[in-house]
Symmetry: C2
Subunit: 227 residues, 2 copies
DNA sequence: TGATGTGAAGCGGTTCACAGCC
DNA sequence: GGCTGTGAACCGCTTCACATCA
C-alpha cells in the first residue's frame, strides 16, 4: 500500500471495477482473480492489481480477491457508503434531461434542487424537483447540504456559475458547458463536452481510410482509453 | 508538419480551439497569437502550436495566425465542412434527452433516426424524429447515409448493439452505456460514462481534506485534464 | 502451485527552450 | 523584436516480469 496521490484515471477505473464486481457477485462467485476480471471485462490484470494496491492489500496470493470484501472496500473508498445530494444549475433541455437521468439511475446521488435565472421557470417543478432562483443558491445549498453541483448552462455563463458554486463551499463540480473553465485547485472539476466528443469522432470520419483493401487486422481489441 | 498519428487528446483540443477562434472572430480580431489564445482560454501556448503544426504551417512568425484562415483549416481538418447524419439507439430517457440536445445544438450533426426494440415506441416520434424498429437498423442506416451511432441502451444490451452497429458499416460510435466494450479497431468508439464520472467526484469528496486550515494555495489554475 | 503486490522498463503526451523566420 | 515550429527533456501512466507468499 502506497501513500501516493491517486490519479483520476485510477478512480474512474475503481468505479468500473465496482460495477464489474456487482455483476460477478450476481453470478454467485465468492472469489475472483484479477486475471478473470480482466478477461471478462476487457481490462488489464496488472492495472487492476496496481489500482487496488494503492489502497491496501485486499487480495490473497494464490487465491484472488473475495468478491464481497472487495466490493465493500471499493464502496468505502469511493465514498459510496453514503448518500450524496447534488444540484443542477440550468433548467434548460440538458439540465432537465440530466435531472431525469440521475433521478432514475439508482446511484448514491439524489437530485436535491434545480436552479435557473428565468422567472418563468422558477417555482415550477421537473419530475418533482423544484426549480429555485439562482439568487438563492448559497442559501439552499447550505440548507439542503448539497455537495455536488452540475453545470448545465450555456457556455458564456458557465464561468460565472462556477464562481457562484465555489463561493458556496461546494467542492465537486461536473461541467457540461463546452468551455474551458478556471477553478481554484481545491475544487474537483470534471468537464463532459458532448460537442467536442462528437467533433472528435468527426475528425476520425474525415480521415482517408486505409483504402488498400488489405484490412490487415480484423482484430477485436479494447482501446486503451475509451473514456 | 508531421505525418505522425494524431492522438484523440489532440483532436479534442482542436475542437476547443475552433470554438475559441469563433469567439475571437466575433470580437473582430484579424490575427491571434498562440500566447493570446492560451491566456484568454486557459490553454498552453506550446501545446496549441504543436497541435496545429501536426497539420501544416498555418502561422506567420512574428505575427501569429490569421483567425479566418485558421478557422477554415480547423473546420476542414475536423470534417466540419460537411453535414453528418447520426442515429441514436435506445429511445429511453437518455436517448430522447440526447435527441433533443443534439437537435437543437447548432452543429454539423443532424439526428436522422432513433431506434428501439419496444413495440410501444416504434412508429412514434421524438421531436419530429421517428423511432424505428432496431430490426431495420442496417437498412435505414444505409438508406439515410448515417455515419455516427450513439448508444443509449442499458449496459447489458450495449455490446450486442455495438455489434449490430459494426455490421452495418458505421465507423464512429459514441457510447453512453456504463460498460467497457470490445470493438474492432477500425471503429472509433468514445465512451461517456456519467455514472463513473460522478463516482469519481464522490471519491474526491470522501478524501480527508487538508484540514490544517493553512490553505496553502488559494491559487486559481486550470487543471491538466478537465476532460 | 497460483495469484498477488511491486520495482523497473516502456510509452505517450506535455512542457521547455530555442533556432528559425517574418 | 516577436512569434512560430520543433527537438529534447520531462513527467506520469501503463505494462512487464518476477519476487513473494498463502
Amino acid at each position: 500500500m502506497k501513500v501516493e496521490k491517486i490519479s483520476e484515471l485510477t478512480t474512474n477505473r475503481l468505479s468500473v471495477y465496482l460495477r464489474c464486481l456487482n455483476e460477478i457477485a450476481a453470478e454467485g462467485a465468492r472469489t475472483v482473480s484479477s486475471e478473470l476480471l480482466a478477461r471478462k471485462f476487457h481490462l488489464n490484470s496488472a492495472q487492476i492489481r496496481k489500482d487496488l494496491a494503492y489502497f491496501g492489500e485486499f487480495g490473497v496470493r494464490g487465491v484472488g480477491y473475495t468478491v464481497e470484501d472487495l466490493r465493500d472496500h471499493l464502496k468505502k473508498i469511493l465514498g459510496l457508503d453514503k448518500q450524496h445530494q447534488l444540484c443542477i444549475i440550468g433548467a434548460g433541455r440538458l439540465g432537465t434531461a440530466l435531472t431525469d437521468y440521475y433521478r432514475f439511475s439508482q446511484t448514491n446521488f439524489a437530485v436535491g434542487a434545480l436552479f435557473d435565472a428565468d422567472p418563468e421557470k422558477i417555482g415550477t417543478k421537473v419530475g418533482g424537483i423544484e426549480i429555485f432562483d439562482i439568487k438563492d443558491f448559497a442559501e439552499i445549498v447550505k440548507k439542503d447540504k448539497i455537495e455536488v453541483a452540475v453545470i448545465a448552462v450555456p457556455a458564456e455563463r458557465a464561468q460565472a456559475v462556477l464562481e457562484l458554486i465555489t463561493a458556496s463551499g461546494i467542492k465537486a463540480v461536473m461541467n457540461f458547458a463546452p468551455v474551458p473553465l478556471r477553478v481554484s485547485d481545491d475544487i474537483k472539476l470534471k468537464t463532459v463536452d458532448l460537442t467536442t466528443s462528437l467533433e472528435s469522432l468527426s475528425y476520425f470520419l474525415a480521415q482517408p481510410k486505409n483504402g488498400n483493401g488489405k484490412s490487415v487486422k480484423p482484430n477485436v481489441k479494447v482501446h486503451r482509453n475509451q473514456m
